[in-house]
Amino acid sequence: MNADGMRGGGRTLAAVDPAPEPPRVGPGAVLRQWFHGEHGVAPIVVGLVLVWVVLAAIAPDFLSAENLVNLTLQSVPVGVIALGVVLVLLVGQIDLSVGSVSGLAAAIVAVGTVTAGWPFALGVLVALACGMAVGLVYGVLSTRLGLPSFVITLAGLLFFAGVQLRVLGPLGSINLPFESWFVRAVQQGFLDPRVAWVLVAVWVLAYLGTQIWARERRRRAELSCVPWSQVVLRTGALALVLSATVGYLSTARGVGYSVVLFVVLVIIADVALRRTRWGRSVRAVGSDRRAALLSGVAVHRTVVSCFVACTTLAALGGILAAGRLGAANQGTGGADTYLTAIAAAVIGGTSLFGGRGSAWSALLGVLVIQSVANGLTLLDLDQATRFMVTGAVLLGAIIVDMLVRRRRQEA
């Protein structure tokens, strides 16, 4: 999906050194790059397929269209939170409080709209603004005072869990009106299949267009170009994945509005990370903060922006969770939410130590985790099994990631 088309600027110059390794080109190289590239998503895609095969074997209902629609809907709230976690991890920080912040946002929306009678949009805006403010405080504490984000956000986890309980009040649970447009959109809003196909076509054509355009500019600048076969192959793969998804989901309820929102957010984050100055700063700061500073990167601003993006996305995730449940209660965003979100980001291939990762790792990671949870629920297995299996998957993902990385360094 995001295998960058610009690697291997294959030009070797008058060498002072003995001739360096020539750039590899060929179908094998393309595959190798998919597996070993800096943002290689291939290992996690293989992992996801493996999980699905195993689950399909032991729970035949797992791969039914209706169940996969459920799976996509279940993945959205934690996925949105995980996307924020990816951003803080990339910049070399962590946010343990995403669960509490999401719960607080859900509580604010519920109390605002149900108890205080605000219009729904206002409730959402206030909740998002609170999320943003929390991130701003974290960012300032982290950059101005130099406190470790692990500790700041651990304090935030406790503090905002308390605020969430206080906002919810003695009842501890508030039902959102079932007929409100938001709850309906989140629970029962699905794209008309025709619209879905149009979106698929737009996406594939936009992808193909950018590839051709970039290739043409590179050709004119006399830089190395990716072979046409690769452009066709990639576009074909994207078209295949999207068509299969939309086609299969449409045999049941289809693609939910919230799923579309999540995917759009991932695309925006991906483009921002790879194609803007901000994204470059994020990776530079996460990889080597001092070098970034000496190079003139606005380190503080970059770190603060990632905290703000993370807590805002956490708030949005909480709002979506409340919409999906039709209620905000003391459990919203509690228990394992933050652990699941962080695990999703890491399973998806984002490094815990900053600098390496991709926005797509949020989507892929959350699909793995939710697939396991969903499949085990189909088998009537309990929470205990779910935790243990998810833990094992997380460990397995990290081991695979490390092995791939080690092999790449030896190569």
Binding site: G8, L13, T276, R280, R283, A284, D288, R290, G296, G355
Partner: protein, 262 residues
């Protein structure tokens, strides 16, 4: 201390005055006097080596030129006019680019990303990768650098190649003065030769090069003048032909008659 070099020494004389001069510059860190009343002139088309033992004030001198340290007293002149170098950005804007000893490269970013980090070329809000890659090749061509791919992370490059990338980044702003702080300290023999080669090319292109090092032997290969610092003071300025023993004597203070000294 004015560098009126002995007649007969084979030095390229610059027609204009010095590009950068320090006049009576002193800097102390707490109780340590890192630089005491230092005068230096840096000319175009010239490699000025700054040598000295550990703690002689070499890196402080580089830091003053880089804008990383502000002198406590004394003046910094660019083209004869007094200036204030209070940040690396300010120094850069005045045409002085510095390659720090630690290089300040980001390992996970590729060569192009590193070259333009903090100064990316944009196009309608997005990065212009094509333009940056084109310019990257241009500057690497100028240095006759050998880099297998500009899209490999710099973590995969050798020490010498990393040094070249750091120098290339300094050159992107078309500086007049390039300050190199211990560029060969962590390099092997062949890579050191490569970097010294690079330095002579910089001189040929008309840059003024300030080369800070404690490896006196290497410097004699490329330096036009050698400034010896000892305990924060300028101990003397020598020609590039000065023998190793004489330099060593000057650096350590074991005085002996030195024919190269003025």
């Amino acid at each position: 201390m004015n560098e009126s070099i002995e007649p007969g020494s084979a030095l390229p004389r610059t027609p204009a005055g010095p590009v950068v001069s320090l006049r009576g510059v002193s800097k102390r860190f707490g109780g340590v006097r890192a630089l005491v009343d230092v005068d230096v002139d840096v000319h175009e088309h010239e490699v000025l080596a700054v040598v000295g033992d550990n703690g002689a004030g070499k890196s402080t001198l580089a830091g003053v030129l880089a804008g990383a340290h502000r002198p406590d007293s004394g003046q910094v002149l660019v083209d004869g006019a007094p200036v204030v170098l209070d940040s690396p950005a300010a120094a850069r804007a005045l045409g002085i680019a510095t390659v720090f000893q630690e290089l300040a490269l980001v390992n996970d970013l590729d060569v192009v990303e590193n070259l333009f980090l903090g100064h990316e070329v944009g196009r309608g809000g997005f990065l212009d990768e094509v333009e940056m890659e084109r310019r990257a090749w241009q500057v690497l061509d100028q240095l006759a650098a050998s880099v297998p791919s500009v899209r490999d992370p710099v973590r995969t490059l050798s020490g010498g190649q990393r040094q070249v990338i750091a120098v290339a980044r300094a050159l992107l702003g078309s500086p007049r003065v390039v300050v190199l702080d211990e560029p060969t300290a962590s390099l092997g023999v062949r890579q050191t030769a490569q970097v010294l080669n690079l330095i002579t090319r910089l001189r040929a292109r008309g840059h003024a090069v300030v080369l800070v090092s404690h490896q006196a032997g290497d410097l004699q290969a490329v330096a036009d003048r050698i400034l010896v610092l000892r305990l924060g003071r300028v101990h003397g300025t020598y020609t590039g032909e000065t023998s190793y023993e004489d330099l060593l004597a000057a650096m350590t203070g074991a005085v002996r008659p030195s024919p190269g000294r003025r």
